[in-house]
């Protein structure tokens, strides 16, 4: 930051010696910003340079001539500096001088002044209106450098606002057909491509000259640009598509990595419109997936995921998962995301075997250090599939049991990075709880879910675990009391109940409020169940059943618009804005507490007053608690 020296820079700019001034121009280009106040002083200096005053009166004519030539460089350098430090004020004041220089006799100056116009337009937009005609003329200038500069400027401008430049089309077409300069042709093709959205007929008109260029040019850069522009046309003829695909295929097969990358890029663009045509080259693209270059692999990945259909889904996913285990970093996260996106496209249109999909998701959870968004994705997929596909629930529950019991996952959750794994645990515990009728090893599962290490997980995960552990316990009790011929029913039930109670006790003193509440509530249930069991063992089953009624109703996902459907049809006489009771007084909180206390007393006194009632009252109590 050399703002202390800005004034000195301007001073040096006014020196008689060119080399000094040059240094000052460089310093200005590197350090002046839009806020520099001394820029105002430079206006006069620039004006002097632009009007071609050759300073000093040299003795001999030869030096004079040389000085005249040199003044071209002078103005050139000054223009360069202007292009780098332009501000709206500078642009406004110097516009006229620049315009004069656009008609100078030296092509060097014309070239530079045309190019600096773009810098001026960026800062001072009305300039465009004044100089548009002159710019148009420069497209027909005799020197190719000047034409190049003009095309450059128009190309940049047309990116922002294509409709203004349609009038330049005839001149541009002339240049397209007559020019030999590769660079200019590239810019022209790009420019014409950006004009197509504004002028649809242009697309058809362009096809012929572009085909001509594509088939004849030796320059790969120009070839690629033409193919690029052709793909932005609205409607490509089949011949055109075939031609482009052939050329792109040669790019991809080329050993040069750059060409491979460009070929894949081009295929990506064609893919949007003609999926089938590109799908022919599937094997070639799969080959690219194995390339050592990450950029190329990303592109190939994008291509592959858009050409998936029912038949090749499993093969492709297989290949992609092999990749997953071999790589790391952002590429792997990307691959993971793509795998899931592909599978869930169009509501699982391509997935035939959901058990395979669940297996795939479970395997993914074994990967270490998954990024957060991916973990959320995996967990939501697990839940989604399990809820909506009844047949796969049993399998899913088994897998989730495996995940929870597998201690590695819970110990991993301690690391900061694997905070994402908590999402997976959330999903797996939900599934296990919701469909607990499929659980095989209740005791082991409950022990794993409530183990001591769990208390270092985030509080919301703990809550979920506790809640679902209860559901599993109920299911377990029902299951155990089901098998009457199984001799050790009593011991199993005993084990389950005592283990659960002993595990819940430390949790009931946890520092997280939600965890403590739940643990206490469930601890209470378990202890009550235990005491009931000791006194009336045969009623255990019905007690457990009614406890399970807590989570009995099945929740299915709703269509997002269903709320709107109901809201639109209000039944008559229902005014949603009217008070239901009278407006509540300020001490409403106390009355709420009273009600809950009453319930609790009733319930306490109802010790052996029948199973259903006790359970039902218990339900009511539970509901009001949260």
């Amino acid at each position: 930051d050399i703002s202390f020296a800005h004034f000195n820079v301007v001073e040096v700019m006014s020196q008689p010696c060119f080399s000094h001034r040059r240094i000052a121009y460089l310093a200005a280009s590197l350090s002046f910003t839009v806020d520099t106040d001394v820029i105002l002083l430079t206006v006069h200096l620039f004006k002097k340079r632009f009007s071609n005053v050759s300073s000093g009166s040299a003795q001999d004519a030869a030096t004079n001539v040389a000085l005249q030539e040199g003044s071209m460089y002078e103005s050139g350098c000054a223009i360069n500096c202007l292009a780098n430090i332009c501000t709206p004020y500078l642009a406004q004041s110097l516009l006229e001088d620049i315009c004069n220089m656009m008609s100078s006799s030296k092509p060097y100056l014309r070239k530079k002044s045309v190019l600096v116009l773009y810098a001026i337009y960026r800062k001072y937009t009305p300039a465009l209106r004044f100089t548009f005609d002159r710019l148009k003329d420069k497209l027909r200038d005799e020197d190719s450098g000047v034409q190049n500069a003009a095309v450059n400027v128009v190309c940049e401008l047309a990116r922002k606002n294509p409709s203004n430049y349609i009038s330049l089309l005839p001149a541009l077409f002339e240049l397209l057909n007559n020019s030999n300069n590769n660079w200019m042709l590239i810019k022209l093709v790009k420019l014409l491509g950006s004009l197509i959205p504004a002028e649809p007929r242009l697309g058809k008109k362009l096809q012929e000259p572009l085909t001509h260029i594509i088939t004849n040019t030796p320059a790969k850069s120009l070839l690629y640009e033409c193919i690029n522009t052709v793909t932005t046309c609205e409607h490509m003829s089949r011949g055109m598509v075939r031609l482009c695909l052939d050329k792109l295929r040669t790019f991809v097969e080329d050993p040069d990595q750059n060409l491979k990358y460009l070929g894949l890029l081009g295929l990506n663009k064609i893919m949007d419109k003609n999926v089938k045509a590109v799908a022919q080259h599937k094997d070639l693209i799969l080959q690219c997936l194995d390339d050592s270059d990450v950029t190329i692999r990303m592109r190939a990945l994008d291509l592959i995921t858009s050409m998936v259909n029912e038949k090749n889904l499993e093969a492709i996913i297989q290949k992609l998962t092999d990749h997953l285990y071999g790589t790391d970093g952002s590429y792997r996260d990307h691959v993971l995301e793509q795998i899931i996106q592909v599978c869930k496209k169009h509501d699982y249109e391509f997935v035939r075997d959901f058990a395979w999909y669940v297996q795939l998701l479970t395997n993914m959870t074994q990967l270490s250090s998954m990024c957060k968004s991916n973990a959320v994705l995996v967990s939501s997929q697990l839940m989604d599939v399990t809820i909506r596909v009844p047949e796969v629930r049993r399998f899913s529950v088994q897998q989730m049991e495996g995940i929870i019991v597998n201690n590695d996952l819970i110990s991993d959750a301690h690391n900061m990075q694997s905070n994402a794994i908590c999402r997976i645990l959330e999903a797996s515990s939900y599934i296990v709880g919701e469909y607990s009728q499929f659980v095989a090893q209740h005791l082991i599962l409950v022990s794993a879910m409530l183990q001591a290490r769990m208390s270092s997980l985030p509080s919301d995960i703990q809550c979920i675990f506790i809640h679902n552990a209860l559901k599993v316990v109920c299911a377990g009790l029902i299951h155990f009391t089901d098998d009457d011929d199984d001799g050790n029913t009593k011991s199993e039930v005993d084990d389950l109940l005592t283990r659960t109670i002993s595990l819940l006790q430390p949790l009931s003193t946890s520092s997280f409020i939600e965890v403590q509440e739940r643990a206490n509530a469930y601890l209470f249930f378990m202890q009550w169940l235990d005491s009931e069991y000791r006194s009336h063992p045969q009623q255990l089953r019905s007690l457990a059943l009614s406890l399970q009624a807590l989570s009995a109703s099945e929740l299915m996902p709703l269509h997002p618009n269903s709320q709107q459907v109901i809201a639109d049809k209000l039944p008559n006489g229902l005014d949603l804005d009217a008070w239901i009771f009278e407006a509540p007084p300020d001490d409403s909180d106390d009355s709420m507490l009273d009600i809950s206390d009453q319930d609790a007393d009733e319930w306490f006194s109802d010790k052996d007053g029948g199973d259903g009632d006790g359970g039902g009252g218990g339900c009511g109590f539970v509901c009001s608690l949260w």
């Binding site: 008689p16 010696c17 060119f18 080399s19 040059r22 460089l26 590197l30 910003t33 839009v34 000093g56 040299a58 003795q59 030096t63 040389a66 000085l67 030539e69 040199g70 460089y73 002078e74 050139g76 350098c77 223009i79 360069n80 292009a83 780098n84 332009c86 060097y108 070239k111 530079k112 190019l115 600096v116 773009y118 810098a119 450098g145 500069a149 450059n152 400027v153 940049e156 990116r159 590769n182 660079w183 590239i186 810019k187 790009k190 790969k220 850069s221 690629y224 990595q257 750059n258 491979k260 990358y261 460009l262 050592s292 270059d293 990450v294 950029t295 190329i296 990303m298 952002s330 990307h334």
Partner: protein, 206 residues
């Protein structure tokens, strides 16, 4: 449009940097560091293009969204603290725009020549341009090496100015570029001698 040109050596030391868009000084340093970290990890067998959008934009954009909500909430107060914060956020926004571009680089012996361009430039064309630039340096300095760039950085900048002006490509023909460079050198010498003469003239008057 070309947004920036960097010459970095293998150890991450920046030998020349030109930015053609307004970026805060500190952010410039950050950009250079980030770009070098991407480019240095790539072996010589991979392609010379990198799309920045996939790597960094998401990181900077997230940062930006968080800070944007900070300015939006307290619009009324304009304390000093807010001023600096607003400036910081504007700088971050420039940075996020900056990363909406492509990186095209070439590795020559100990130096990386890196061009940051946006969507309107052709990738292979820019590769050619880097080649022209290096050849121009070679002709000017005869077997150019890193030290030449360090000690004659003003000349390097002048040559670059003949090729790229204000972010737009000015000239792609090597001969033309060299003609201009030598012409300017001659003119410089001439004007120096004329200036000296005029100084001596003054003395004689006295």
């Amino acid at each position: 449009m070309i947004k920036g040109i960097l010459i970095v050596n293998n150890h991450g030391k920046i030998r020349m940097s030109r930015f053609y868009t307004r970026i805060d000084q500190r952010k410039q340093q950050q950009i250079i560091r980030d770009v070098f970290s991407i480019v240095s990890k790539r072996s010589d067998a991979v392609c010379n293009f990198v799309e920045l959008s996939r790597t960094f934009v998401s990181k900077y954009r997230e940062n930006l969204e968080v800070k944007q909500s900070l300015i939006d909430t307290d619009d009324a107060k304009t304390t000093d603290k807010n001023e600096t914060m607003i400036r910081k956020i504007k700088a971050d926004r420039e940075l996020a725009e900056f990363f909406d571009s492509k990186l095209i680089y070439r590795h020559y012996a100990t130096l990386f020549f890196i061009f940051l361009v946006d969507q309107s430039e052709s990738e292979l064309g820019i590769l050619d341009l880097i080649q022209v630039f290096v050849e121009a340096l070679d002709q000017r300095f005869e077997n150019v090496c890193e030290l030449d760039i360090v000690f004659h950085f003003d000349e390097v900048n002048h040559i670059l100015d003949e090729i790229v002006m204000g972010g737009m490509v000015l000239e792609t023909n090597l001969n033309q570029v060299m003609n201009c460079v030598y012409g300017m050198k001659k003119y410089e010498k001439l004007s120096k001698s004329v200036a000296k003469k005029s100084v001596t003239k003054l003395k004689s008057h006295v």
